[in-house]
Assembly symmetry: C2
Homo-oligomer: 169 residues x 2
């Protein structure tokens, strides 16, 4: 089997990534009065001991510098009720006006925590690794807030999906 | 706000991760006659130029050594029709018997590719980083096969979810 050429790969990669359904998060950082945050889908747990999360952030994103320089960041998993926050934190609203949308409280280190998130994981920023166009930020979880229902807001095929329910088998 | 103690974090982390809905993949590697593969949910795109995928694998997983030593690995995103493969590649079936389930063909470098996956991304293994209990494997995408419908199989709250549809807004 011959390898595909770069253009075919680039186009195929975009299409494949539309197929990868992920829970939408808002990654936040900063301290009182200087909060920053952005919608993110490339969020994964990478270790349970110690509990560690990773998020890949495009270096051209408005919040990239703030996350890189912050001592803490918070990964807020979104629920169906946060649907309007996707476009707000996805770039439709200027960086300094985003936190007027949603209920935000101050967490460990002063980072903004979404009060009614599906789950909010405040992380002590432990490592940053550049990788091409992106930076991978690693953080050890130091505070967690989980909220009632499991009703995640997904991103797939360029839009949102809701109403996800685990099947009883 | 005071930080939570380790036990609270460990327990909260498990609960939070049940809330993070992800598309199930089967990560495969190996060459003809010596295939290895495992179900994985910690799969993310980390860069588009060059197209690069990352997967976090527990060092105790039966396929860990094969992936670490392989020149290529393939990330096969699962669709609803692959539901039975989750338990097969999740540990219920011995490593050497797994490929009797599902339709597997040989891809670039001899790695097993799921013929009717949602998308299969064959990656040239470019980097491995140890992180606590896990290893992060990075691979540059060298071959992609995307298939018709976008009907991902999700993992959430300890079970599968299907029938996900993007909403038109």
């Amino acid at each position: 089997m011959t390898k595909q050429d770069d253009l075919v790969i680039a186009e195929g990669f975009k299409l494949a990534m539309r197929r990868l359904a992920t829970t939408v998060s808002i990654v936040t950082t900063g301290q009182s009065g200087r909060w920053a945050g952005m919608a993110a889908t490339a969020v994964v747990p990478i270790c349970a001991e110690p509990p560690t999360m990773m998020v890949a952030v495009n270096q051209s994103a408005s919040s990239h510098t703030a996350i890189r320089e912050g001592e803490y960041f918070c990964i807020n998993l979104l629920a169906t009720r946060h649907r309007e926050l996707v476009s707000v934190f996805g770039g439709k609203v200027a960086a300094d006006l985003r936190f007027a949308h949603g209920q935000w409280i101050e967490g460990t280190g002063g980072v903004p925590v979404l009060a009614d998130s599906l789950a909010s994981l405040t992380c002590a920023h432990s490592r940053a690794v550049s990788f091409g166009t992106h930076t991978l930020f690693f953080g050890e979880v130091v505070d967690i807030a989980n909220h009632a229902d499991i009703d995640p807001l997904l991103w797939m095929d360029g839009g949102v999906a809701t109403g996800i329910r685990t099947e009883i088998v």
